[in-house]
Symmetry: C2
Subunit: 314 residues, 2 copies
């Protein structure tokens, strides 16, 4: 399978930069003191729709041919990708068809509907979602945009780290969480070519450790029934993201649920920003492995801030 190069991510950046927020990079002296290191947080929780997913969705929409644009885009998702694709389609004046499970949270249904997407509800199984999406695509001629296992999406997600390195060229390590692997593979693709001395380390919940097991064994091992508060990381790698991650990532480190919740609360309290549990996984890795990060400068992509304020894990 042909993998993207860093030049593809630079092209994606040129394509989308007028449409995405150039999110800030924040630092916290108190978190640095606690971790005995220097951390630089790229705040994609402050991205449009509250997640880095808007980058990949926008790049996918802008990469369509004029003919394809006429039929719109389609996906199945109950999470940030659905909202991201819906808004990216709306802003670019094309249709979005989103397949959502009937039991998706009302707030997510409302958000996607609010962006003007056509929603088709289905049963809450992966089989039903894929079958319904297939029917929608057949009927509408829309182009499927996968949440992570797709070239344009990976290139879009990689632009977060491009912006991070524009601001902080002297990082030693860049970290992201890993779920489906779109962000991690885009990050590794850009950085390993452009800044070969920078180490790429991903954090993953031990309770959803398919990327860890696949990376360590070299054999793709999907996860079964993951049970983690990091709801954005319950998916398994795809064929393309696995290949890139296996070849370009330096390490994947797993962490427990208590560390994730502690790191999440630390970001809320010390940095005054709202992150979802998935965003906190790399900081949890730092907290559990301080010697690894001592005397280094580490960039961390905070992936999203979509969390139910009435259901906090403390």
């Amino acid at each position: 399978m042909k993998c993207p190069a860093s030049s593809d991510i630079i092209n994606a950046y040129e394509r989308i930069k007028g449409l995405v927020h150039q999110t800030p990079v924040l630092t916290s002296q108190s978190i640095n003191d606690i971790c005995d290191t220097e951390l630089y947080f790229k705040c994609e929780n402050l991205q449009k729709v509250g997640a880095f997913k808007y980058r990949g969705a926008t790049n996918a929409v802008l990469s369509l041919s004029e003919a394809a644009k006429m039929n719109g885009v389609a996906t199945h998702s109950s999470g940030n990708h659905a909202a991201a694709l819906a808004l990216a389609a709306k802003i670019n004046g094309i249709a979005a068809h989103i397949v959502m499970p009937e039991n998706a949270p009302e707030i997510k249904k409302k958000a996607v509907a609010g962006y003007g997407a056509q929603i088709t509800f289905c049963q809450a199984t992966l089989e039903a979602r894929e079958k319904t999406l297939e029917e929608v695509v057949l009927k509408t001629g829309a182009t499927m945009v996968h949440p992570y296992n797709q070239w344009e999406v990976i290139c879009g997600q990689g632009t977060a780290s491009l912006e991070l390195m524009q601001r902080h060229k002297d990082l030693d390590i860049v970290m992201t969480p890993v779920g489906g692997g779109g962000l991690l593979s885009g990050t590794a693709t850009y950085i390993k070519e452009q800044f070969p001395d920078v180490k790429i380390i991903a954090g993953e919940p031990a309770n959803a450790d398919d990327a860890y097991r696949s990376f360590k064994s070299g054999i793709f091992q999907p996860v079964v029934n993951p049970d983690t508060i990091a709801d954005g990381l319950r998916t398994s790698l795809g064929s393309l993201t696995f290949e890139i991650i296996r070849d370009k990532v330096d390490d994947i480190i797993t962490v427990g649920e208590a560390s994730i919740a502690e790191a999440m609360r630390m970001i809320w309290e010390r940095m005054k920003i709202i992150v979802e549990p998935s965003s906190a996984v790399p900081l949890a890795v730092v907290l559990e492995n301080k010697p690894l990060f001592k005397n280094k400068k580490t960039g961390i992509v905070l992936t999203g801030g979509n969390v139910d304020l009435a259901k906090l894990p403390w």
Copy 2:
């Protein structure tokens, strides 16, 4: 009483800029859509110690003579000013003496102690606080730094709007909340001289409306027993801040408690940042007075993010 000029705020900026965060200015398409206007949020909740107060405290500390530095600084406060002064003193290697009421929240006592300040506890009356502070100053020779009614503090607070205007020169309106008036008077001092066409509008809780009544009547009228969730705005104006605000502010508009809570939640949910109730008061004003802001560009200083995550108003 001699009031500061915009050149004093520019000097303060040159003095403190290496020690404070250049906080980001964020926008939210969805809040703009709800309010039918264009808002630019200067995020001082992301400032060190989580509040703009760090600017004024740092300017006060850096403005001390070498002789005065040897005896340190002192204040009475149970809020953001205490933490700000303690950290500013610590970073500049001088002593900080903080008088706190015995019933101050444990988390605030810990924060101030964590910055290495000398804490003297007293009874929870203004009289006891002022008397204890007087004793501390007599004993230590420390310089008193008032939370708002002091030249250097006002000049430091004004630098937030200086940075805002650096980024967005084309604003029509700049808004802050008003409590003691340090931020508002610094903002008005800088902007009314440098950008005379920009309107300065303050937001105040109707339940703590001393600045509104004083401004409208031209006679200083302190508040008695204010009862508002915007805990940072329960103080009354000082003699110096009242004079500046009376002369340079265009309007003060009051809002109810429900609007403040609604605006606070909107900022959390739509912008993914943590703000304390006081920060949300200007947005509450916009929500209650949409026609006033239509077809205008409005900058809003978000003042702080220090809030007990276990006690949210929803």
